[in-house]
């Protein structure tokens, strides 16, 4: 019943927005109908897809790279005390630092092309995965580990068959955070310096007062983020089927 409440509220807000915009709001406040029109029109052009491809071409590799590294190192830190004591303090301490400040440095080192952006996205995605993998590995119920050892399982087997499945929910939680983060960092990096991509499109269209394009880019990004999140939730439900 609570769920029903959100749809009419949303619609109500949309209607309100439409009325305000149609009755002569400021130029940058486009009516939802206008936005929808522009969006559908843009879907027909190849330009939009070019920008989307450019953006995804940075966000996804960065996401995968950062997440895998984070998972690997985080799990290792979760099971090996020595590794943990060496690396974890650095990770946890540097966590509240805005990683985006390294973008200019990366741009100097790796050029102003895609590589610097992919790397900074990877760097940002590393953290949530490391932290989640770390806590996930540590949260393995000891009794399961003991049972496995009792039945003669070796270290690698225990890791693969006990620790990894136990950490999986944490990993997926981390992946969700990292995916959203990858979009945000990609966005920021593109707004700061890029020749293509949705972030660049927003900035470019705003400065040429093409607000319709700006909203199109906004909607695209929101849709992409939402779609990515849904995909991840689906993957999670499949992978954690044994948990439901």
């Amino acid at each position: 019943m609570r769920k029903m409440g959100s749809v009419p509220i949303f619609l109500g807000l949309l209607v309100l927005w439409q009325i305000v915009a149609a009755s002569g709001g400021p130029a940058y406040l486009l009516a939802p109908s206008e936005i929808a029109k522009s969006f559908v029109a843009a879907l027909g052009t190849s330009e939009l897809y070019g920008h989307i491809a450019a953006s995804l071409g940075r966000a996804l590799p960065g996401f995968v790279l950062g997440s895998l590294t984070g998972i690997l190192l985080g799990l290792t830190a979760g099971v090996r005390r020595g590794f943990d004591e060496t690396l974890s303090p650095l990770v946890f301490l540097s966590y509240p630092v805005p990683k985006i400040v390294l973008l200019p440095l990366f741009m100097l080192w790796f050029g102003i092309g895609d590589l610097s952006k992919i790397l900074i996205i990877a760097f940002a995605c590393f953290y949530p995965l490391y932290i989640n993998a770390y806590y996930g590995a540590r949260a393995t119920p000891r009794i399961l580990v003991w049972s496995a050892r009792n039945m003669g399982a070796g270290g690698a087997q225990i890791f693969r068959r006990v620790v990894l499945p136990a950490a999986l929910p944490y990993l997926f939680a981390g992946l969700r955070v990292a995916l959203a983060l990858s979009f945000i960092v990609m966005f920021a990096a593109e707004m700061i310096n890029a020749r293509s991509g949705l972030g660049h499109l927003i900035r470019d269209s705003e400065s040429s007062l093409r607000f319709d394009l700006m909203y199109v880019a906004l909607v695209s990004i929101a849709l992409l983020g939402y779609a990515g999140d849904r995909l991840l939730r689906y993957a999670r439900s499949r992978a954690l089927a044994w948990q439901e």
């Binding site: 707004m191 705003e206 880019a217």
Partner: protein, 252 residues
């Protein structure tokens, strides 16, 4: 003893940096030796300009963060306690969560101008979300036993709010603050890098254009130190105010 290993790792990284910088493989512009970076750092920290630029960025971050903390905390509290408010605001926040609010920055600049307001407004918006979402979770989860006990001892609504709901929500409030604080810093730096004529983000952009890698790194150190210090401050504050529940500090 606990700090020996990470300290060794840090030293190893610094040593590797120094070796690479002096190896001549890359130009010293790209890879400044530690000494140069240290010099730039000292120069920045001891200069009046450095202090004023830092203050500008901090001021923007705190203005937005403070406003978001107040508004977000209040909204979260209301959302947690009143189903009506929750049904109104919840879809609003969870629906627009996926939209990167940074995308609205160009509009903000258009509306609020190139000065601090556009940045403060974005910081406010970005910090509002974690504040509202996390605080409302906390306010919603107040153990009913406590509410009943208070009621049966004759507490009226206001007293219950002040003596039960508020303390129960405090841990969540601080969790939200800890999430929102780095966000504030990040947003300030990013917005200043995108369009600004002052502030730390602008300085980074400027140093990039003038190829002053040593200064970029010095600024990175400064911003990192700020982020760390503020986080620790927040933790200390939490320790004082939420005295009944200490955090298990693994550097967390």
């Amino acid at each position: 003893m606990k700090y020996v290993r990470p300290a060794l790792l840090v030293l190893a990284i610094l040593a590797a940096w120094e070796v690479t910088a002096r190896s001549g493989l890359w130009s010293p512009i790209l890879f400044p030796p530690l000494e140069k970076i240290a010099r730039a750092l000292v120069a920045f920290v001891t200069s009046a300009e450095g202090a004023s630029q830092t203050w500008i960025s901090l001021y923007r971050a705190f203005a937005g963060f403070g406003a978001a903390a107040l508004v977000g905390g209040l909204l979260g509290l209301m959302m947690g306690r009143s189903p009506l408010v929750a049904s109104l605001l919840d879809p609003l926040f969870s629906g627009t969560y996926a939209v990167p609010k940074l995308a609205l920055f160009p509009i903000f600049v258009f509306v609020f101008g190139l000065g601090s307001l556009s940045k403060v407004a974005l910081v406010f918006l970005e910090c509002l979300y974690p504040m509202v979402i996390i605080t409302s979770q906390g306010a919603r989860g107040v153990p009913r036993v406590l509410l009943w006990s208070a009621g049966s001892m004759g507490a009226r609504r206001w007293t219950t709010l002040r003596r039960v709901v508020l303390p129960a929500t405090m841990p969540y409030l601080f969790a939200a603050l800890r999430v929102a604080l780095p966000v504030a810093l990040i947003v300030v730096v990013i917005t200043e890098m995108i369009s600004s004529v002052d502030g730390l983000g602008y300085l980074i952009s400027y140093s990039l254009s003038s190829l002053r890698t040593d200064r970029i790194l010095a600024l990175v150190v400064v911003i990192s130190a700020l982020g760390l210090a503020l986080d620790r401050l927040l933790l200390a504050l939490r320790d004082r105010l939420v005295y009944w529940e200490k955090l298990d500090t693994y550097f967390a």
